[in-house]
């Protein structure tokens, strides 16, 4: 016995959590379709993507970090800072979006780079470093302004409100397209590059990765930079969605992103997990919200309760699997 399989299905253990999340998603969709009129349509699914494109991008970055065994608590604040910088530069000096967006991405990546460097060079727990980053970025928002700044740049708003028509009345926003490209790029990096291998190896066992001559330090710095970049891009997408910059945007989004990654089956200890799982995780979170809005009478706090229950279930599942595979 070398690959553990579930019953006779022949699915290797490492795909199991993703499979479970996938089944859960299908089950939720089926239940929703039976209970509510107009739920079982393609556009409902696409709306989940449209409403959560920014979360998806942020969760992709988080997946990189968690795969190395780290964590990034700063993402929500970096998202807010990005919306704030974009909005203020476009509103005040009237910078064009094609200048503002690259600048925001550079700032986000730079923040990630610095945090990654501190984690590596001083050997400090990522939790603490990114916690500091979280406060820092959130605080910087308020140095720009304490109120919400609307975005009125015509190019920006036109792009944000653009619809990409698919077949049969279905449509997506440009943000979804961007998120999809990010996901594809990330899958490619994780599975087809040396960097991807180093990420999995570092998370699997940092000591043995070091003794294999893998560039562990560089890998760690890189994943935090990627996460910073994804947060900034997530911030840009959020400003498309909100058409404003505000210091109170994306409060607690780091926790949503972590939840999506964990529900997607990635081990918090690192080394095991797939980006597809994260995509499914984001969809599960989005679908919970959709179901609750269809229910109508339930308060939105039920979203949190369901997410909480789901997290418990998934963490227990992971525990069971990792305990079994250690034997």
């Amino acid at each position: 016995m070398t690959t553990m399989t579930l019953g006779r299905t022949g699915v290797p253990t490492k795909y199991l959590p993703v499979l479970v999340t996938g089944c859960l998603l299908v089950a939720m969709f089926v239940v929703g379709g039976i209970r509510y009129e107009g739920f079982a349509s393609g556009q409902v699914i696409l709306n989940v993507f449209i409403d959560n494109a920014f979360l998806l991008v942020v969760a992709v970055g988080m997946t990189f970090v968690i795969l190395t065994g780290g964590i990034d608590l700063s993402v929500g604040s970096v998202v807010a800072l990005s919306t704030m910088i974009s909005a203020s530069l476009m509103a005040g000096p009237g910078w064009p979006p094609y200048l503002v967006i690259p600048l925001v991405l550079v700032i986000g990546s730079g923040l990630g780079l610095v945090m990654g460097y501190i984690v590596h060079a001083f050997d400090i727990q990522p939790f603490v470093v990114t916690l500091a980053g979280m406060f820092l970025a959130r605080g910087l928002c308020y140095t720009i302004g304490t109120d919400s700044i609307p975005i009125e740049d015509p190019t920006f708003t036109a792009f944000a409100q653009d619809r990409i028509d698919l077949f049969a009345d279905l449509w997506i926003s440009p943000s979804v397209l961007i998120a999809a490209l990010v996901v594809l790029g990330a899958v490619y990096v994780l599975h087809y590059t040396r960097l991807g291998r180093s990420i999995y190896a570092t998370g699997g066992s940092e000591q043995s990765a070091l003794l294999m001559g893998l560039p562990v330090g560089r890998t760690k710095i890189t994943v935090y930079t990627i996460s910073g970049f994804c947060s900034a891009l997530g911030g840009v997408l959020l400003s498309f969605y909100m058409l404003s910059g505000y210091g109170l945007h994306a409060v607690g989004m780091e926790l949503d992103a972590i939840a999506a990654v964990v529900i997607g089956g990635t081990l918090l200890t690192g080394g095991s997990g797939f980006l597809l799982g994260t995509v499914l995780g984001v969809l599960v979170l989005g679908l919970i919200q959709t179901i609750i809005s269809f229910e109508g009478t339930l308060s939105s706090w039920w979203t949190k309760i369901f997410i909480g229950l789901l997290l418990f279930v998934f963490i227990l599942l992971q525990r069971v699997f990792s305990a079994r595979s250690r034997r």
Binding site: P12, R197, G204, S205, L210, L211, M212, G213, P215
Partner: protein, 509 residues
Amino acid sequence: MTEHILRMSGITKTFPGVKALQDVNLTVRRGEIHAICGENGAGKSTLMKVLSGVYPFGDYEGEITFEGQKCEFGGIRDSEHAGIVIIHQELALSPQLSIAENIFLGNERARRGWIDWNRTNYEAGALMKRVGLRENPTTMIADLGVGKQQLVEIAKALAKEVKLLILDEPTAALNDDDSAHLLDLLRGLRDEGITCVIISHKLNEVIAIADSVTIIRDGRTIESLDMAADHVTEDRIISGMVGRALDNRFPPHESKIGTEALRVEDWTVYSPSQPGRKVVDGADLMLRRGEIVGLAGLMGAGRTELAMSLFGRTYGVHISGKVFKDGKPIEIRNVQDAIRHGIAYATEDRKRYGLNLIEDIKRNISAAGLHGLSRRGWVNENEEYRVAEEFHRSMNIKAPSVNSVVGKLSGGNQQKVVLSKWILTEPDVLILDEPTRGIDVGAKYEIYTIINRLADQGKAVLVISSELPELLGLCDRIYTLSEGRITGEVPRREATQESLMHLMTKGQE
């Protein structure tokens, strides 16, 4: 009052597939210092774990009688309650707590649930005086050297009203002064009526301090000797320790020895955790192409430390010395440098440091050699699969496919994955640390065959092993290491287990 404080008889302990102890007998007289000697892996530590209840009653066969009463310890708490305290080589102290807090940890001086600090510190002070530790009871453990920490452990044992004190390699990490002080202290405790069992590799210490000695080899009691009555010498102990059963078979091999591949001069490494302690002390080594060289040494001699410090400074601080590759001086600052210079190191702890257990065979094999399998950062997965399949076949790795998870493989097959990984980096020098540890006899033969094949390809191989028969069966030349120094270099023809053990136990003059 009986004359014998402890009698262990017919102790047998089996781990899955291995008999670690077989019908072991140990009798300790009241008020003596009793030494237990044996090679690495002879079963000394297992025996002490049985005695202290780490392996609870029912987990082993045999009988333990302590103070005339049959004992059935369910855990360490039970054995400590009876008055048996074991001090492990890795000290079990809480570094951020004070001396006094550590001494009474789990045994607090308290009144109605509140700790009585005056009494704690006062009593700690008294115990510290007994063990000759001149420190403030409120000093933090982390601020003490290892020697003093050892004394805290003993004070802790005294606080538990110990009758039988077991020390596992107590002087292994100590310098000469601290060792001498510790041995004096043990003599003092003996005179106070506390019986001691001491496990030690340092035979000169055993001769100096012990009243009797029990020798264990391959999980069996070889003999018990009374130091005075039997006129025990170091030679006498060594002849009992060695002569391990030659149950390994070795493939016939004739080395074709070529030119010098690696030379190390005056290699000195300091311990990262104990400032000022030399773990490797001025070691000189030379490996030739096509030659299999052994490195013999007992636990704590510095074998792994020597290897890891050479392999990209992955162990130790203030490393000094010269390394020559093919006669040219080289500088190795990190693992990448080592790999680039054609040096590979297969660790003794495969599971923790050698493999990514949750990944598959293919990715473990390619991990160190990804450079050759990728272009501009993109991994060529087809090529990777092909290479892994090739090793799967040529190394005879028993797994359904190269996609199998490494954590599920047997020890022998995991080791083959580790070796494949390093062979893929095309090294000239391979350092193999305990290459057959935890591997069954059949797989050992396969590993030996692979090692011979590597030498035939013109690679220099350094084998570090605790098993002397393995070194004698495999190597062309054997270095011995003792307390961080190279104490001998013996060609295979002239080497015997006794001669090697002499060199391995040679203390500092």
